[in-house]
Symmetry: C2
Subunit: 354 residues, 2 copies
DNA sequence: GTGAAAGCGCTAACAG
DNA sequence: CTGTTAGCGCTTTCAC
């Protein structure tokens, strides 16, 4: 029933060479005459041959398996768009380079989270791992992974991660600065910031950028509230509802990601607040969420697909030895995407404050 | 550097038995004294042994690899939430049962889409495939997969798929019926329906349900428009904008999924239309999108995680031989989730029509 | 340049 | 009940 797949020996026989030679052309090895290589390639074509990855990896050749590790919040819905975009970018590059990509969500609060990552790595014989925050700054984990001979690249490492592995990401501090400037330019002076979980260092840097922008803007601009969310829609809506309960709320709320901004929007709507008329809200990431909500979110675009692609490229470079030397952090460009959720401070609000 | 992983022989030596015996306890085989099994288990524990899946699969044992095939629209953003929920449910069950899960998005319009699925299957040595629409109704594909000795289970097959493989899903016709009844009960009589791509048969059945509900409701209830979308947010907003351009629009719009409903909502907002005051909108699936938008979407809950879980269970049953006999379709319960996007027809609108 | 031989870690007959 | 013997398809020394 099951048509047996052709093996390397079938190709060898068909092309009248030894098995080793086939293996050589398969792996782009040296010491094969062009004429012979040609012949082997033709036989592969004819037989529709494809190397068996299991056998290959068992025999000691690389497994050509990479893994993308994403943090998940056991009970909260995962930030699917963020994950998908990263995955898509990585996947495309893997395809182009002939790697396999495994994507795994690991509960970030789990006490054995490191163990889970390590287990995936060993059981699947991964050659390279892509770590997203907060794993990207888990120096201990990174060292353990490397000890097993696996390459590591981090997405958006906050600082510690950059010292121990290659990394890819945007300049988060500048992103926070830029979106804050955008709001300041619109006339806002009373701002609130909603951060994500504390371990997500690169997101924390967005707040550093906000502070820098405020310092530059002078003493009349201030952060009236600092809310600690967890990147979820729910936290965004709950915290914003609480924020709006207080007297003299801010005129603008900067959120560390789009999901929380969507939650903030929802809370504003439930109170019948006009956005951006009475409250401007901004997100971060520019995931599809920012266009799905109403009004569409002003946000900071992060080139997630490119980041995924770049991560694979780095891994491949380290694996093949093309890339050598010190850890490198590759900064990709970000942009503020002005949409309708952030607007000018209304005159009466501005004067009320003055 | 790289600590060599313990092999089955290490375990055998350590526990003083033959390699085969270890293999047997590994695979839960019969013919092992409890005392010996105990001893072997202890040795595995002590050595922190984990079977090498590559070797296992190469040796002819099952690869224990399952794959979830999702349709993607090359250029459109994927319906991430739908995919994630299905994946999460499947993944959890896989973990429990000791299977690996591979998730792959395949462009549904690609001429070689079947080839892509088949290639993934053979290259990864999958033992079972979970097919989502429209692949779930691709009888040719299903037969080809089975010919390779791989088990198949479909998610939401529309009809053809049910005749050739096991399936899991809700009663989509009833779902369409129920949400339509909900709207009729709210007083709506002029309805519009937005469908997804034509090949997605189970989604088409939702429309059958709508028609049944209308027939029951009598002649004054009617479908004033039938829009053909493609399940994306964009198609939802574009088509709705067009719909609202026409004179005498419907009072309610039933969308075949949440993403299109979100798009519809967005289009309504851009025109300053009150939802649900002037237009009620409903979605389908109850993905997080339905809570992210404003007002939250009335929708039909589809137990996606349970569907993913159930699919793996079926595959496992067929693989182990626990489940035998004819293809079975397992219907999971759905429910209408009333939220704020659908409301009563306003008196003036009702009379305007009368 | 090329091929023969020796495994990688495991499962699956087949004997005991 | 348990162990022995062959491979699964490939990469890798190491001869030629």
């Amino acid at each position: 029933m099951t048509a047996r797949r052709p093996t390397i020996d079938d190709v060898a026989r068909q092309s009248g060479v030894g098995r080793t030679t086939v293996s050589r052309v398969l792996n782009g090895g040296p010491n094969v005459r062009d004429e012979v290589r040609e012949r082997v390639l033709k036989a592969m074509e004819a037989l529709n041959y494809q190397a068996n990855p299991q056998a290959r990896s068992l025999a000691g050749g690389g497994s050509r398996m990479l893994a993308l590790i994403l943090a998940s919040d056991l009970e909260a819905e995962p930030n699917s768009f963020y994950a998908s975009a990263l995955e898509l970018g990585a996947l495309r590059e893997c395809l182009a380079l002939g790697y396999q990509l495994l994507t795994r969500h690991v509960p970030q609060q789990s006490p054995d989270r490191r163990q889970q990552v390590l287990e995936l790595m060993t059981s699947q014989r991964c050659e390279g791992l892509i770590l997203t925050p907060p794993f990207a700054d888990d120096v201990v984990l990174i060292e353990e992974i490397r000890r097993s001979g696996c390459k590591v690249v981090t997405i958006s490492p906050g600082g510690p991660g950059r010292a121990v592995a290659d990394g890819v990401g945007i300049d988060d501090e500048a992103g926070g600065y830029d979106v804050t400037r955008h709001l300041l330019d619109l006339g806002h002076r009373r701002l609130a910031f909603m951060s994500g979980i504390a371990g997500h260092l690169s997101a924390e840097q967005r707040f550093d950028g906000l502070r820098r922008a405020l310092r530059e803007a002078g003493p009349d601009a201030e952060v009236v509230d600092l809310l600690r969310g967890d990147f979820t829609f729910r936290s965004g809506s709950v915290l914003t509802a609480r924020l709006l309960d207080q007297p003299n709320p801010p005129t603008a709320l900067i959120c560390a990601n789009d999901d929380m901004a969507a939650g903030a929007l929802s809370a504003a709507h439930s109170r019948g607040l006009d956005v951006p008329g009475q409250l401007s809200i901004t997100g971060f990431d520019d995931t599809p969420v920012s266009e799905i909500v109403w009004p569409p979110l002003t946000t900071v675009h992060q080139p997630l697909k490119a980041m995924g692609r770049e991560a694979v490229l780095v891994l491949a470079g380290r694996l093949t030895g093309t890339m050598r030397g010190d850890w490198r952090f590759r900064t990709l460009p970000h942009t503020v995407v002005p949409r309708a959720s952030a607007g000018q401070v209304l005159p009466q609000l501005a004067t009320a404050i003055a």
